[in-house]
């Protein structure tokens, strides 16, 4: 397993971000929500690492921290051998050409007052990649690459369907020929029939351009066919991380098992019952494991002490006392 490890493109070290929790009419800060609570992760070049977790697990925040679209509280992000969180703005701007993002909402991620040609060509204009005519030509190529006609340039985003808009967002993301793209639930708001098309498009582009993806999703079913490695997030922490096949076949963390059980199965009779406790039946203690209240295999130690993410065997990491 260790032998065929490739070059690491992105390396995240103990990344943290918390948001103030405000209450009352004066909006006093009553506490802090640890959205990303000490995450370390390595992403290999040319692969897809899936980041899976439920709503509020901090996966979107993590994606934005890695691209420095949000300022982190502490930690490091190494990209192509450069630590980007401490980079001065002038050097950060240059680095932006190499890392891009694709968003979930195909409605909110395109400026409604810009034509598609302007949207897709904006990066090329910012970095002055050619004359006006050359950029127009490149935009046509990009649109063709994502399966849109050249005439799309003249139209506004609202004239397209959800799937087509997502293609526009992808064209914008690949325009500068980046090395790394954070895909933030790119298919979650699309019809199932469209999802496969977009996933295939992303795979084709990865192969063609040698892209590295951090693919964020809220369940394991979507990423089953495209991920090389999968990291499962729960309440701001990575609780399990492994090569895809291992994670699906031998999940270690009880939360990962819950996620696998919740993958839709065509036969309703074959559906296994969920192993999770139905609802939190006790308050989570500050010190203990954050999954304690829902955990089917918890022991007393879990309430006292949070388990750290540790390597169980051959590149398979999990954060649980019981594995």
């Amino acid at each position: 397993m260790e032998a065929d490890r490739k070059e690491v493109l992105v390396s995240i070290k103990d990344l943290r971000k918390s948001f103030p929790v405000q209450k009352g009419w004066l909006f006093r800060t009553v506490g802090r929500l640890n959205a990303v609570d000490g995450v370390s992760l390595e992403i290999e070049k040319g692969t897809t690492t899936a980041l899976v977790g439920e709503t509020g697990s901090g996966k979107t925040t993590l994606g934005r921290l890695v691209l420095r679209l949000l300022p982190a509280d502490s930690g490091q992000v190494w990209f192509q051998g450069v630590e980007i969180l401490s980079l001065p703005p002038s050097r950060l701007k240059n680095l932006r050409q190499d890392m891009q993002v694709i968003f979930q909402d195909p409605y909110g991620s395109l400026n409604p007052r810009m034509r598609v040609g302007e949207i897709v060509g904006e990066g090329l204009r910012i970095f002055r990649r050619g004359s006006r005519a050359e950029i127009a030509e490149k935009v046509k190529e990009l649109l063709a690459k994502v399966g849109l006609p050249p005439s799309a340039r003249e139209l506004y985003p609202h004239e397209f369907s959800g799937g087509q808009r997502q293609r526009i967002g992808i064209a914008r993301a690949i325009a500068l020929r980046p090395a790394f793209i954070v895909c933030d639930e790119p298919v979650s708001s699309l019809d199932v029939s469209i999802q496969a098309q977009i996933l295939n498009l992303l795979s084709d582009l990865q192969e063609e351009m040698g892209l590295t993806y951090l693919f964020i999703a809220h369940d394991l079913s979507v990423v089953e066919h495209i991920a090389d490695r999968v990291a499962v997030m729960y309440r701001g922490r990575v609780v399990e991380e492994a090569v895809r096949d291992r994670l699906y076949r031998q999940p270690l963390h009880p939360y990962t098992r819950v996620l696998i059980e919740s993958i839709p199965v065509p036969d309703p009779a074959a559906r296994p019952p969920s192993s999770a406790r139905p609802a939190p039946d006790s308050e989570d203690s500050e010190a203990g494991c954050s999954f304690y209240s829902r955990c089917p295999i918890r022991v007393d130690r879990c309430r006292e002490e949070a388990p750290a993410l540790r390597e169980v065997e051959g590149g398979h990491r999990a954060a649980c006392w019981e594995v």
């Binding site: 691209l67 701007k93 240059n94 932006r96 993002v101 409605y107 395109l110 400026n111 910012i126 970095f127």
Partner: protein, 275 residues
């Protein structure tokens, strides 16, 4: 109703633009012979004459010009300040936002109208001063509106996407945030023109605005109030003009709001309302 308002606004703008062609007489040409002063509406003039024998209709048309230019220029100044301060506060947030908003609130809590009168008393009455002073005291509402729009728009995914493409502050503001913040600003500005016209009329009525012989609806009423019993036309027509003008701008503004605000547009076209 918005259409009616829009129609009236356009009509008044045209009347102001073509005032020289529309007015049958020089608005300042006095004819103080006893037989030509305070004539009621009739063949001599559709709105009669004033206490100096000037044609009231001509004075009304030129007064409209004053009202419109004060309204537009005052709101223009207010837009300039409000957009700049609001955009900076909303875009940068944090302590910049706090500092600018405390300053805005300070301007806001001044009893603006009395303050305007005070400033005009110091600077001396003139139309130019009126425009500037109204503009300087009417921007806080607009500023807060712009700030709120910027605060919410800067978190939009298309703004994040532009940032990840390496767009600088200026490009983000000019290309991505401002164009999407303009609709409510436009509505507010339309309503503000009506408000500014009302303030100008009040100031001119009190004698601190347009100075005779320049005609303004406010100072026509001021002159006419001495003759309310004998020459009702001198107060009725300018009063009606102010009422109809302010009403038209308000109707137009409300109509624009209904059209432009996606939150009020639900059910009409869900998809494009989201974008």
């Amino acid at each position: 109703m918005a259409t009616v308002g829009g129609f009236l606004v356009v009509a008044m703008v045209l009347a102001a633009l073509f005032a020289p062609a529309l007015a049958p007489h020089d608005p300042a040409a006095a004819d103080p012979r006893p037989e030509s002063i305070l004539l009621p509406p009739g063949p001599g003039g559709v709105m009669g004459t004033d206490e100096l024998g000037r044609d009231l209709f001509s004075r009304m048309v030129y007064g409209g010009r004053v009202s419109l230019s004060v309204g537009l220029i005052a709101v223009g100044i207010s837009l300039l300040i409000g957009l700049t301060v609001g955009a900076i506060a909303g875009y940068f947030g944090g302590w910049v936002d706090s500092a600018l908003m405390r300053f805005t609130e300070m301007v806001m809590i001044f009893p603006a109208f009395y303050f305007i009168l005070m400033v005009l008393a110091f600077l001396g009455p003139s139309l130019r001063n009126v425009m500037v002073v109204i503009g300087i005291f009417s921007w806080p509402g607009l500023c807060r509106l712009v700030r709120a729009e910027f605060l919410s728009l800067r978190e939009r995914e298309y703004v994040l996407a532009a940032r990840s493409l390496g767009a600088g502050h200026l490009r983000l503001i000019r290309r991505h945030i401002l164009p999407n913040a303009l609709a409510p600003v436009f509505v507010y500005a339309t309503l503000a023109v009506g408000g500014a016209i009302l303030v100008e009329s009040s100031i001119s009525f009190l004698g601190l605005g347009a100075q005779p012989p320049t005609a303004s609806w406010g100072n026509i009423i001021a002159a006419g109030r001495h003759y309310v019993e004998s020459a009702w036309w001198m107060t009725l027509f300018p009063g009606l003009a102010i009422l109809v003008t302010v009403l038209s701008y308000n109707l137009l503004g409300e109509g624009l709001r209904d059209r432009l605000d996606p939150r009020l547009r639900e059910g009409r076209d869900g998809k494009s309302a989201r974008g």
